[in-house]
Subunit: 172 residues, 2 copies
């Protein structure tokens, strides 16, 4: 494989990578390398999930999300999930259970997101970064599932996390 | 907003965009612009879904996916979905029903994927590009849902599509 680095930023690295595929073809691919991220589906005992409504410049406005953040170098995804949960929504979780680890969009990036179900929530201290603009929204998980179907919730990791927790809880 | 284009490739465009957030902070963001994509959950009448096992260099190997492809400039996502369904798995769909339109990873890209449920499948003509390396895998939707939980299926759009179709069909 031949790699030409085009850009290395604070979040993404863009390479042109010349690779030979299993069918023998040699192609040049645009690949975005990303440190990965962790996210939490924070569940209260009454079936309520804690979401955020966050401003996202890349998609032009506010969207609903589960709390999440990028991994620091060498960081355990579980520690990242716990940190982001407290900093973004002001809760700590007594238990974090891994729900899934998935590729966000493997056609052009290696980004993975580790999603945890957080339970046993206790009050912590919200601490937003200067570039984080968000409100907290608490709704019943069943209602959030409906809001995926009606197009209100449109963020990939949030859909994966909410639907996975909902299906697990129903089948378990 | 001030935009500095770093790279414009065949698939992605990378910009540095200096924006003022709703909280008044001015930040420089790394933004990947992408043309968007369409995907299909192809369902047979017996409850089987048609997946592909595709080689993806960015994530280092083969992963399970629903058929999908990038939008051509100005293309209707429905036309794209129909084209990719036939080219990748060799089926045509009598009906394409929009399941969801979602953001793959809105922290750094504007990519959206439109996912359709395809039914009334009839044989068409598979026509793979030279850079497409894939096998077809047909399994029961219920089994695919289990394979999300056990970590066999790890692609974001595929998880979103399969779970959404499963939940819709169950809720009536």
């Amino acid at each position: 494989m031949k790699t030409k680095q085009i850009f290395k930023g604070r979040v993404v690295t863009l390479n042109l990578e010349t690779v030979t595929l299993p069918n023998g073809a040699t192609v040049e691919l645009e690949v975005i390398h990303h440190p990965g991220a962790a996210a939490v589906v924070p569940m209260k005992e009454n079936g309520t999930v804690v979401l955020i409504r966050q401003y996202r410049h890349a998609v032009g406005g506010y969207i609903y999300e589960i709390p999440a953040g990028k991994l620091h170098p060498g960081e355990d995804p579980r520690d990242c999930a716990m940190r982001e949960l407290e900093e973004e929504v002001g809760y700590r979780a007594t238990s974090l259970e891994l729900v899934t680890t998935f590729f966000t969009t493997p056609g052009f990036t290696d980004e993975v997101i580790h999603i945890y179900k957080g339970t046993g929530l206790t009050p912590g201290t919200q601490k937003l970064g200067g570039d984080e603009v968000l409100d907290i929204v608490e709704i019943l998980l069943e209602k959030a599932i409906d809001q995926i179907q009606d197009g209100t919730i449109r963020d990939g990791k949030t859909i994966v996390g909410l639907q996975s927790v909902y299906l697990r809880d129903r089948s378990g």
